[in-house]
């Protein structure tokens, strides 16, 4: 009988014990797998969010992330200057403001109003009902508005609804007159926050709202988004923009991800490291204890096998196979279990306020599976080391004599 078959028979001789041990490994393995997904999930998701927007460089007025609200003056001229750079393929101007939106007979809702330059809409939202923003003749009087699904639900809006919009004033009550906007479509916004209401309008509509709050501050942008020429890359575009406008800050997606990794994400990375280490240590201790107790109970059986001619190597191989069965079967079961658990943990963490809807904490990556399997293999081998050592050093005659005398 091979060592593998002998290990299998030993485990199946006591199915309750085997099943419980496999279940324990599966649950702890699922947690370990999830922590490995968490260790890079937010970063992968953030990078994906930035990359799918279609722009790989963000230009803002000051240091820090572009969400900081420091406007860039003369945005149209800047966009034209940037477009002329050989490293730049496409430029979009992004404007953002907080407004109060009301429907007759309803309490006003705080809404993030955005405006992007023509052509950038396809990267920013996807129409699910109605039509997209119209520009040109008629747009100025009609003031079109595309609203997010959540905003449409909150204010019971459909294409054709009319809403009144007023800019919010920081720290003071506002008496600025409201403006009527016509809802033309409902859309899914790429960067909308999970707990935020979002709407988009044309540049004219946006500037009319902003003019009510800060007359004279026309043609300001919150960020200018740039798509670099693929042949030259984003770093070349960043260098060109910094050379052209040293007063502004240009960040490539890689630099933004690095900043995010350094600041916003580091807590979850540390937590996942701590929990992965604890989980691994826990799995190691428990499998090692199970195998050691199992070996101690079967000392006489092993001595008898040695007396029958089983070599030390074969006994060691049998114990290694036992560990491999427990950790292997439990570890494989942990993958789907970990996937399900990750869905629930992700749902809990995504309730965090102020996060983009499309951001996820747990992201499946083949790299996480490879790391998980490698760690589990090392744990299984490590857990079997002590019982193997005990079994290999077993004095055959003394053990058999002790068994008979006892």
């Amino acid at each position: 009988m091979t060592s593998q078959a002998l290990a299998w028979r030993t485990l199946t001789a006591n199915p309750a014990r085997g099943l419980l041990a496999v279940a324990g490994v599966a649950v702890i393995g699922a947690l370990l797998f999830d922590m490995l997904m968490l260790s890079s999930g937010l970063l992968v998701s953030f990078r994906d969010l930035l990359d799918t927007a279609g722009y790989d460089v963000r230009v803002v007025a000051t240091d820090g992330l572009p969400v900081l609200r420091v406007p860039i003056p003369h945005a149209t001229a800047l966009a034209a200057d940037l477009s002329r750079q050989p490293e730049v393929q496409e430029v979009a101007v992004f404007r953002l403001d907080r407004v109060l939106m009301t429907m007759s007979g309803r309490w006003p809702e705080g809404v993030t109003l955005i405006s992007v330059s023509e052509g950038a809409e396809r990267h920013t939202w996807r129409i699910t009902r109605g039509e997209n923003l119209i520009t040109g003749e008629g747009a100025l009087e009609r003031r079109p508005l595309v609203v997010s699904d959540r905003l449409a639900t909150a204010l019971s809006l459909t294409p054709g609804s009319i809403v009144r919009v007023r800019p919010t004033m920081s720290g003071v009550a506002s008496a600025i007159p409201e403006m009527e906007f016509h809802v033309v479509g409902v859309a899914e916004f790429e960067f909308s926050m999970a707990d935020d209401l979002t709407a988009a309008t044309t540049r004219d509509g946006f500037e009319q709202v902003r003019a009510g709050r800060a007359p004279g501050n026309k043609d300001e942008a919150d960020a200018v988004l740039v798509a670099s020429r693929p042949a030259l890359g984003s770093e070349a575009a960043v260098t060109a923009i910094n050379r052209l406008r040293p007063d502004l800050r240009a960040y490539s997606n890689e630099q933004l991800v690095a900043q995010f990794n350094q600041n916003g994400f580091s807590y979850f990375r540390q937590i996942s490291f701590v929990l992965s280490s604890i989980t691994l240590g826990f799995a190691f201790l428990l499998v090692a204890t199970l195998l050691t107790v199992s070996v101690n109970q079967r000392l006489s059986e092993m001595a008898a096998l040695r007396a029958l001619g089983f070599s030390r190597r074969r006994i060691a191989a049998t114990l290694l196979w036992e560990s491999a069965w427990l950790v292997g079967v439990g570890g494989l079961l942990a993958l789907p279990l970990g996937g399900l658990l990750a869905l629930e943990l992700d749902r809990i963490l995504r309730a965090m306020p102020g996060l983009p809807e499309r951001l996820h904490f747990f992201v499946f990556e083949p790299r996480a599976v490879v790391r998980y399997l490698a760690l589990l293999t090392v744990t299984g081998l490590g857990a079997a080391a002590y019982p193997v050592w005990v079994a290999a050093r077993l004095p055959i005659a003394a053990t058999l004599r002790r068994e008979i005398v006892s």
Binding site: N14, A16, R17, L20, A21, A23, G24, V27, I28, A30, L31, A61, T62, V70, L100, P108, T168, M169, S170, G171, V172, A173, S174, D195, D247, N263, G264, S266, Y267, Q270, V274, L275, T279, F282, L286, T289, L290, V293, S294, Q297, L341, E344, L345, I348, L349, A351, M352, P353
Partner: protein, 244 residues
């Protein structure tokens, strides 16, 4: 001060505009440890404190009465929600927020608490499976002893009580040991995160309610695992227990 290489006594120029327009000289008179803020602990806080008139002159000299935030202390803390509603209704556009954590648990710490609870539950489920496996092995180890005790006429109920008491003692000892490990780890984890984020925030605190929660989880779990494992033996025939 370390990042900007500024020392007490240095004169620095501060401006409200990124281009440095209207920069004003200020003398650094001291250094302070910022009040730990759990919402900002991952951010590098580069801050300076000025006298209010100096700050207003620097940022918005046209509006000497303008402020960014007003902190309000209520006579009765229970009135926070009512006060928030009243003020919001009177001054639409003003962001009024109670400082107490919202009861619906939608704040970041409520979310983190639920996340940690979920992790704790999964860990307890996994360790229960292992505990049961170990208890089954231990019960199996004592099969013959239990068989002999029953042959001697000791009723199964007495053996079960003995197992229960033994399980209780082991579970209590395990829970106390676990708490001691947690207490020892508390300092290590706090020192690590305080060093990592350069903050005085306390990240882990083993409080009495948490200790009681852990004991309330661990002790019944240990006792039940021992009882379940032994119960299967006690239900067996005495002859099969002594392998005859």
């Amino acid at each position: 001060m370390e990042q900007a290489r500024v020392h007490v006594g240095d004169v620095v120029m501060l401006a409200a505009d990124p281009d440095g327009t209207g920069a004003t000289p200020f003398r650094v008179v001291g250094a302070y440890e910022p009040t730990p803020d759990p919402m900002k602990f991952t951010a590098k806080r580069i801050e300076a404190r000025l006298h209010l008139p100096d700050l207003i002159a620097l940022t918005d000299p046209q509006s000497p009465e303008a402020v960014s935030v007003l902190n309000v202390a209520l006579v009765d803390l229970q009135d926070a929600d009512a006060f928030t509603l009243t003020l919001t209704a009177r001054m639409p556009g003003l962001a009024v927020r109670p400082t107490a954590r919202p009861r619906d648990g939608r704040d970041p710490f409520g979310v983190l608490e639920r996340f940690h609870w979920a992790i704790a539950i999964v860990t307890v489920v996994g360790s229960t499976a292992f505990l049961l496996a170990l208890m089954v092995m231990r019960a199996e180890e004592r099969r013959e002893v239990i068989g002999i005790l029953r042959l001697m006429g000791i009723p199964g109920r007495s053996i079960l009580v003995e197992v229960l008491l033994e399980g209780l003692l082991i579970a209590l000892a395990g829970a106390v040991f676990g708490l001691l490990v947690a207490k020892a780890a508390e300092g290590v984890v706090n020192r690590f995160f305080q060093w990592r984020y350069d903050t005085a925030l306390v990240f882990v605190r083993v409080t009495l309610p948490i200790a009681w929660q852990s004991v309330a989880f661990a002790v019944p779990l240990g006792v039940i695992a021992g009882l379940v494992a032994s119960w299967t033996l006690l239900r067996r025939d005495v002859v099969s227990l002594v392998r005859r």
